[in-house]
């Protein structure tokens, strides 16, 4: 085939391979929203750092929903990845705070028992 002007063909290829060719990331949206719910169930809002990332995750998920409506699936997919990573981090931070608190409480209880034992041993 004799090509008179390869530039338009080149441009068309770019468009075809590049933007707007991605599928609707509905599964990713569901996964991201599920992570946000999980973070809320863990009461992530009780720890300040966890709450920050929970809010970010919610905003990003909302943004992604809008992008999907507008048809920008590729961008939506990346925003969902951010949302999902923020939600997972919120969960991890929440668990960390809970584990630290449990550890501190047990150390406190243990210290009390030690001093009780010592005073009991001393008086006998």
């Amino acid at each position: 085939m004799k090509l008179r002007n390869p530039v338009p063909l080149f441009a068309f290829a770019l468009v075809a391979l590049g933007c707007g060719g991605a599928p609707r990331p509905t599964d990713s949206l569901a996964a991201a929203e599920s992570s946000v719910r999980a973070a809320k169930e863990l009461n992530a809002q009780r720890d300040p750092k966890a709450e920050l990332h929970l809010r970010l995750a919610e905003e990003e998920a909302a943004h992604a929903r809008k992008l999907i409506e507008d048809g920008d699936n590729e961008e939506a997919a990346r925003v969902l990845a951010r949302s999902h990573s923020d939600a997972e981090l919120a969960i991890a931070l929440s668990k960390e705070a809970a584990a630290e608190q449990a550890r501190n409480e047990m150390l406190h209880t243990s210290q009390n028992q030690t001093s009780m034992n010592e005073s009991s041993a001393a008086s006998h």
Binding site: S85, E88, A99, L107, Q113, N117
Partner: protein, 291 residues
């Protein structure tokens, strides 16, 4: 110009190649998100995650590598920045997961220690209880043995007929006839009294949980004041003898009652003889020792 002209194609290629840096390949300046991602990974790597949650740390590395490759390919594009953002979050997650595991292990250790302490405290309490019970048992046992010895001693005295032994519900009264102990009108013990008094002393030494009262009595002949004085002196003589022969002094009280407590008829010879006596009353201190 024909588009198949080699010169045209060559120009196109050169322009394309020269455009590559502009299009974003291997730009010198990484975006802030990527810098943050690298720092976050370094932090996570130097924390607990390396040892305790290596899988999460590996996921963070994979995400960082992906962002780095995208940066190499596309430069500081939105895609690079998004992937770097995710990489940062994954590194932070790994760090938090490592710390969580660390806290859990410390909690487990503290719980184990706490259980051990409680077990020790319980064991100590049980030991103390056992020892207390044991001491109580031993005390009871010792007391029972002492009571038994006291009883046996009194039975022995009774059987020996060296003195009259009357066992009443709450006390025992040992009666020593006056003529065995003293000459008429005298308060000095006769040598013949020794045998009886020795046996009484032996019996009294075993009465460890009892009070001992030595009472002197006279018959009605003579004046009351003389009889009172005589009875006191006689009681004292008996008490001294008993103390000298091992009966603890702090257990004995001594009294003279004169002729105020006759046990027989003072108008007869034998009656008067019976009234002239020394009574030794043994009263257990503890009511629970009733016989």
């Amino acid at each position: 110009m024909s588009y198949y002209n080699p010169k045209y194609l060559f120009t196109l290629l050169t322009v394309a190649l020269l455009s590559l840096p502009v299009l974003g390949c291997a730009t010198a300046q990484p975006p802030k998100e990527l810098v943050d991602a690298r720092a976050a990974y370094t932090r996570a790597q130097s924390g607990y995650a390396s040892e305790l949650t290596p899988a999460d740390l590996h996921n963070a590395k994979v995400a960082l590598d992906k962002a780095e490759r995208t940066f190499d390919d596309d430069g500081a594009s939105k895609k690079t920045r998004d992937e770097a953002y995710v990489a940062t979050r994954k590194a932070q997650l790994a760090e938090a997961a490592g710390a969580t595991e660390h806290y859990k292990r410390e909690l487990a250790a503290a719980e184990a220690q706490h259980r051990q302490q409680q077990a020790q405290a319980a064991e100590r309490a049980e030991q103390q209880l056992t020892q207390a019970k044991q001491r109580l048992e031993e005390a009871k046992q010792a007391r029972a043995e002492a009571v038994q010895r006291a009883d046996q001693a009194m039975q022995k005295l009774k059987a020996a007929n060296a003195a009259q032994v009357n066992q009443e519900p709450h006390r025992t009264v040992i009666t020593l006839p006056g003529n065995v102990l003293f000459a008429s009108g005298q308060a000095i013990l006769m040598p013949t009294a020794q045998n009886s008094l020795d046996q009484v002393a032996e019996a009294l030494k075993q009465q460890n949980h009892a009070k001992i009262r030595v009472e002197g009595h006279t018959d009605s002949t003579g004046s009351d004041s003389v009889n009172l004085a005589l009875s006191k002196e006689r009681a004292a003589a008996v008490s001294s003898y008993l103390v000298d022969h091992g009966v603890p002094q702090d257990r004995i009280t001594t009294e003279g009652l004169g002729s105020s407590r006759p046990i027989a008829d003072n108008s007869t010879l034998s009656g008067r003889a019976m009234n002239r006596r020394v009574d030794i009353i043994v009263e257990p201190e503890d009511e629970s020792e009733q016989r």
